[in-house]
Amino acid sequence: MTFLDRTTDARKFRHWEGDVEADYIYTSGVAGERFFVALRDEGRMLASRCTACKLDYLPPRMFCEDCFAELTEYVDVPRTGRVAAVTVAHVDRTGAKLSHPQVWAFVTFEGIRGGLLHRLLVAPKQARAGLSVQARLKSRDGRTGTIVDIEGFEPVRSRF
């Protein structure tokens, strides 16, 4: 299987090791601040509205990508969303194998342009598109006003 197993590790050859030091703080911005403060303090999710295009954007942004209007109005995102796409990752962010695979989903909401990429809090076998889901939030004390105040999305208990 040598064809399938070739080294791309140039550290085995003559080289100079270097790194690019790059640390940042990323400002949430006006629209991000509105979303994250409402999420932290009230457990609500907000979308920004373009009244001209009749579009509600999630994540919210300060400007409409269609008409360039400044967006100042915010609306609540429906509590229940739908899994539009799902994947099960068997490696972590660095490419190292995970002992417990992670389920990820893109969740959309009725009437909202956009959605949220986040963890889907189900076993890999239960992961499927079409599930009705709600955000599970960290407890109020644990929330700091970032996207990880949401622990992930979990299935809405069926009503029948």
């Binding site: 399938l4 140039a10 090791e17 940042y24 990508e65 099960v88 990752a89 068997h90 962010r93 996207i147």
Partner: protein, 383 residues
């Protein structure tokens, strides 16, 4: 004014290149392109365009590091922060202005120099909404593959067929890094990575450099060249945020193709075009791109690859070069490599993988995860 490709230079694509640094890799590909075009870059070239992204290079302000290894000192140079096919579009437009007669386009990968390649790709995720989640960046591809397969009712077997075809095609391309006799079962049984994507569905990184020399029809005549014509070219980006883009179709590829086809006067792409080189850095991308380019109907690319239509001897050969699955992922050089491959086929210079009687071919690029940017070029054989 017509614009044609009069010189093609490529290094071999390899998992690592310990004997060369990235500048020397560019020097080799450029030397090959200038020999192919029979030109002297110090006298015959009016403009040089390189395609690079500082983060992939590992140092800042890449364009400052350019001219010497291309023979471009004291000549106009610029860097496109994008795929090589976007650089080709820039060169095409420069020549169309009438100010430039001969232009050179370069793109390369020295991926083996990047110790933390996953981390570099991760830096392209939105730093507020996506990256803090801690997902591997290929999760984006896994989600899109899921949406594509379900949205088009495509079988995962079709992905395995793409892998088997392109890895085998790579065996017939002396430049390919990852040619291998892989069969579909092996692909279907390879390790799960980002379901429905498995290990063999993902192209492996490779080093390599591609340089193309372009000329106006007037300059081509003066240089006694026999060009492959750029009949049309286009490019597009879908919504810059992951959340607001199309998750099933490759909308960027459709818009780019519409633009390229309009210029090339291609009205029925599926019959007017003889073969294609499309981005296949994940196996599902080949199928999704073929549909978005109008080369297959929605949901049909999967059944057609399973039927053998896209084989080198099939009805519509796709990625006869081996694609990125067979040749390796050469990052920003990916699209330029495909344009070079289409040009070689149209010149009749594709060696053992030469297709019979091809007159028009299409090359398509995508700017990799997590982008929704692509470009398309329609190339045609002389006169």
């Amino acid at each position: 004014m017509r614009v044609g490709i009069i010189g093609i230079g490529m290094t071999a694509f390899r998992p690592s290149t310990p004997e060369y640094n990235w500048k020397e890799l560019m020097f080799e590909a450029a030397s090959r392109a200038y020999a192919d075009a029979a030109i002297n870059p110090r006298e015959d070239v009016d403009s040089f365009i390189t395609c690079a992204e500082d983060y992939y290079e590992g140092f800042g302000i890449f364009d400052e590091f350019v001219p010497d290894q291309l023979g471009a000192a004291l000549r106009p140079t610029c860097t496109v922060s994008g795929d090589g096919l976007q650089g080709l579009a820039n060169a095409y437009m420069q020549i169309q202005t009438g100010l430039i007669d001969v232009a050179v386009v370069e793109a390369h990968s020295k991926a083996s120099d990047v110790v933390t390649l996953d981390g570099i790709i991760e830096h392209a995720l939105d730093p507020i909404w996506n990256k803090p989640l801690g997902a591997h960046p290929f999760v984006v591809a896994g989600l899109e593959a899921d949406a594509y397969l379900r949205g088009t009712r495509t079988s995962p077997k079709a992905l395995a067929a793409v892998v088997a075809k392109n890895r085998r095609n790579g065996l017939r391309n002396p430049l390919a890094a990852y040619g291998a006799a892989v069969d579909a079962d092996q692909a279907m049984q390879s390790e799960e990575r980002f379901a429905p994507i498995r290990a063999l569905d993902i192209s492996n990184p490779a080093d390599g450099c591609v340089v193309l020399v372009l000329a106006s029809d007037r300059a081509a005549k003066k240089l006694h060249a026999d060009p492959v014509w750029i009949r049309g070219i286009g490019w597009a980006s879908d919504s810059p945020s992951l959340e607001t883009r199309d998750w099933t179709a490759a909308t960027y590829a459709r818009i780019a193709a519409d633009m390229a086809y309009r210029l090339a006067k291609v009205r029925r792409p599926a019959t007017d075009i003889d073969f294609a080189e499309v981005d296949d850095r994940f196996s599902y991308k080949e199928l999704q791109h073929l549909e978005s380019l109008g080369l297959a109907k929605k949901g049909e690319a999967g059944t057609r690859v399973l039927r053998g239509d896209y084989d080198a001897d099939g009805r519509f050969p796709v990625n006869v070069s081996g694609g990125s699955l067979g040749c390796g992922n050469v990052f920003e050089a990916t699209g330029l490599h495909r344009a070079g491959e289409v040009a070689l086929q149209l010149r009749g210079d594709a060696g053992v993988r030469q297709l019979d009687g091809v007159r028009v071919g299409v090359a398509q690029s995508w700017r990799f995860v997590p982008s929704a940017t692509g470009a398309v070029a329609v190339l045609g054989a002389g006169p």
